[in-house]
Symmetry: C2
Subunit: 220 residues, 2 copies
DNA sequence: TCCTGCTATGTGATCAAGTTACAGAACAGC
DNA sequence: GCTGTTCTGTAACTTGATCACATAGCAGGA
């Protein structure tokens, strides 16, 4: 690892600030940039923990029929607990990874990762917090899937991805279905119904004219 | 903490074997037995981590309509990551807890828990492994809910709870529904259909004559 | 420009699962 | 036995998933 890279890593992960220069010099620590649209399949083993410096990766589950559910995403400055658990718990991580944007990753070999976890409190707390966050995200996902209608879930998604000033969204029905873990046809039908009610306007690859206020009412 | 209790705690959690006597003497560490059928509601804050020495607790989500999903259970020698995350990540844990059997819990105040995590490697690894396990359990739960039919999920549940020699199960349709995160009526209908096909026999509070071999075939 | 192929969307028919609304059976305690 | 409670069964209906296409929009080459 070069001084440059170390500095950048610390910028992305303030919790690494305490790491000594010797520790950074350990063999096997590296910064790698992965191209977009790369996939890592379920069940592969990792010998390194991966901290995401820049970019976006999506963790998802794949059904036999080809349908998908997105479990969660990891963005700049995040780490993927499922991957980390694969190196800690000696189990292969049980999900697929989809690199959505070109992504720069800091790889830390399992044995060094383990040692740093013992030595550096801020690093340890950061990793723990990542675990805790994902657990909560996943339990809330279960909650949503079990108790909410897709219509409401679509509304929440649209509200999430837009702002007061930004009333349109570039996405396909297919992508939406993958996000929410349902079928494309279900999304198409529901969106069409919403369009008829004047809540949105549809065109190829785009949802425009999103009536945020009315959606907010529906969601409560 | 008395010597007796410390010994028992170590029996339940071998990872605590290294803890020094001084550390055990810290204020606030305690062993408490909670009665069955006690509930801890979503959103409450905890100031202690809870390690389950004996007993069973169930973590679950509750919908507005009263329906439930069981996220997972913790048994003897386990610890609850969602609870631990509430003391680590400063977020209230977002699930309900149902004490199913009288349960003996080792409580460790947050501040001591944090310190032990730094000092004791075996303790740290144990806690991490607990997190990793639950993440995997939850992601598999999502996988099951999204991609498998309830019929298959019921079969898997029945196979899980029985053995080669044990072809019956004491449970109500209501309990099954809660386990699988669906409605009681759906379970009743599906079980009835399975009974007609000769896969099981139903009586009040019991499922008997479970044809494990045939169920195994269905599940593949 | 038209043709071709690919991706995205729309829609009907059908099936599976969740909801509503009961009725009746089995059991527990008196 | 009677009574209240818990558990189970079922019909009718809504929502969501699957299957099977039809059509529309767009891109690139002939």
């Amino acid at each position: 690892m070069q001084m440059e890279q170390i500095k950048e890593a610390i910028t992305c992960f303030p919790c690494l600030a305490d790491i000594t220069e010797e520790d950074w010099k350990e063999n096997g620590i590296s910064v790698v940039t992965l191209p977009a649209n790369h996939i890592i399949h379920e069940g592969e083993f990792l010998e390194s923990a991966a901290l995401i410096m820049h970019g976006t990766v999506r963790m998802y589950k794949l059904g036999e029929n080809g349908r998908e559910v997105t479990l969660y995403r990891i963005h700049d400055g995040g780490c993927c607990p499922l991957m980390a658990s694969s190196i800690l718990g000696e189990t292969a991580y049980e999900a697929n990874v989809w690199i959505e944007k070109p992504t720069t990753v800091l790889f830390i070999p399992a044995r060094i990762f383990q040692r740093w976890m013992g030595t550096y409190m801020s690093f340890r707390q950061f990793i723990f917090k990542s675990f805790a966050e994902r657990l909560i995200i996943m339990s809330n996902l279960i909650d949503n899937m079990v108790f909410k209608s897709i219509r409401i879930r679509i509304c929440e998604y649209l509200l999430d991805r837009t702002t007061e000033g930004q009333h349109s969204l570039t996405t396909t029905h297919d992508q939406l279905a993958i996000e929410l873990g349902t079928a494309r046809e279900v999304i198409s039908r529901t969106l069409k119904a919403m369009e008829k009610e004047g809540l949105i306007h549809l065109s190829r690859g785009q949802i425009t004219n999103i009536q945020r206020e009315q959606l907010l009412e529906l969601v409560e």
